[in-house]
Symmetry: C2
């Protein structure tokens, strides 16, 4: 740990919303692509830290969601960075495969304005090639 430069925070410093949740932006540690916006409660963060893989709280299914449990595409946590208000997290991960259950590298694959950045487009074209093999 290089503790010199940054002010570090602990799980106790975090602010959860009125449902007990904190948004967790999952970002690819290697490509820096945003993969998914998920949510954690205090217990799912505890489990994430314990096993070193992402464990979210599924708002729709109202249950813990250990990413990869059904797909095999686990996410390995490299770093968790809180924001200035302590009410949002960026979770940097490496991963075994696509982050999205639709088979795409990232859940963020639907342009509304402008074009997909070229680096990410290349990943998507490679992923599609693999899926078609």
């Amino acid at each position: 740990m290089k503790d010199d430069f940054y002010e570090r925070v602990t799980p106790e410093d975090l602010k959860y919303d009125d449902r007990g949740l904190i948004p967790a932006i999952v970002q690819d540690y290697e490509t820096k692509r945003v993969l998914t916006l998920a949510y954690m409660n205090a217990e799912s963060l505890r489990r994430t830290l314990e096993i070193g893989q992402t464990v979210f709280w599924s708002r729709s299914r109202k249950e813990f969601w250990h990413k990869g449990e059904t797909s095999g595409n686990y996410q390995y946590v490299k770093a968790i960075i809180a924001d200035c208000d302590r009410d949002a997290l960026t979770v940097l991960v490496t991963k075994d495969g696509p982050a999205c259950h639709h088979g795409t590298d990232s859940c963020f694959s639907y342009p509304l304005f402008g074009d997909m950045p070229e680096e990410f487009r290349k990943i998507d074209q490679e992923t599609e090639k693999k899926n078609n093999e």
Copy 2:
């Protein structure tokens, strides 16, 4: 526009929560760093698309928040990418200066687990040098 590869969405396709909001992950187009998690309603998205700069909805102040209006650090929108559920956005921007009102490049500057990725650490060290000049 390279419309060939991706399924594009329109503002009408988006799903807002019970407060009429959608989370907007602001990401630096150049460094790919996650800068801020903010929120938009339909009108702030409309204004964002109209002026090409980020306009959020401030949940605490309950008003539109044209990023940069007070600090001068405007964010210029290069692309907006929706997720598979159409209930979250990644907004890719270039920017005039620090994204955080604390003067840091990103609001996500407080490690909870692991270390800040080296690329981002370099940016923060340069920003601090500038701030101290």
